[in-house]
């Protein structure tokens, strides 16, 4: 389908160069068609942009749901760590991750309101899985009994930190930051022996 090809290429360009830094000519060239042909599939540049955003949000939530559901290890500790690693990897390896972060942090000013509205529709969808993990950990005496909301927010903050670092530092540096952040985080919530 041409529509998918357009969205895929648009995503790559929007992710790397931003909304203002990406022209319809650029997109058309990569797709292999002429610029006006884009209008057979999308009403405007904004419409195309929003279409890619929608895909990105959905892909992100789907990935988190799927990948966490498929972790077949025993301890909560390894599950949480793996969730952290795989989510970070997802954000770094795909254009989706770059687009996700860019849209959330620095959307085009005039589209901001609209974007926030759409984001809030997806936000919170991943909470349940993590909450379940923390509850399991407390039950199995791996994690200190305490306010799960605090654990959750701290975990998200760690995730956001790693995600951000991935756009600034080298792979090796991010890896060591992830290890350090995780180590201190886990030490902060685990039952010490």
């Amino acid at each position: 389908m041409t529509v998918d090809k357009i969205k895929k290429n648009a995503l790559e360009l929007f992710a790397e160069n931003g909304y203002d830094g990406t022209s319809l000519s650029d997109i058309a060239k990569r797709v292999g068609i002429k610029k006006p042909s884009l209008y057979n599939h999308f009403d405007s540049k904004e419409a195309l942009y929003f279409a890619t955003i929608e895909d990105v949000f959905r892909a992100y939530v789907d990935y988190v749901n799927e990948s966490l559901a498929n972790i077949k290890v025993k301890t909560v500790k390894t599950k949480l760590k793996q969730a952290l690693v795989s989510t970070a990897q997802f954000l770094s390896s795909h254009d989706i991750g770059m687009m996700y972060m860019r849209v959330l942090m620095f959307p085009p000013m005039d589209l901001r309101e609209n974007i926030v509205k759409r984001f809030e529709l997806w936000e919170g969808e991943t909470d349940e899985i993590y909450i379940q993990l923390f509850e399991d950990g407390i039950k199995s005496n791996e994690i200190q009994p305490g306010d799960i909301q605090i654990y959750l927010q701290a975990f998200y903050t760690l995730l956001d930190g790693i995600s951000t670092d991935m756009f600034i530092y080298s792979k090796e540096k991010v890896e060591s930051k992830l290890e350090a952040g995780w180590m201190v985080f886990w030490n902060g919530i685990c039952v010490r022996k």
Copy 2:
């Protein structure tokens, strides 16, 4: 000085709308001059952009150095917490913070190399102060003896997480995230009683 006025207004616009989203006409209009007059003070749009970046990096490093040097409290715990809070506040309250994060995470592609080069000149300048804090904490038996580099990296990751959140979530939500992140972080490095 006109140069400073130009840089100030350019900073605000670049921070909010990015490089591609800001035109020289926009900048000139806010300064109160016409576009060609800008060229009496800067050779090109890129030159103006780099000038503002330079200012931003210097302002950030200066702020961290100053504000941390002026904390007059006793315990390492409150010092660290205050460092976290004030740095986060700095990043959120000024356009400098927005510019700082935007430039580091999503610089204009063709300027990326140059920007990274300049960033690395500033990077690491703040390390010493934090390392000193951790060492003090270990000596005073507030912090567990351990790898200080891990503490430092974990702290930076927390800081990056909070900084990122400030561009995504509401003030209240960020505040609760900061508290949660800090609580778990400190619990992860402190000597528990």
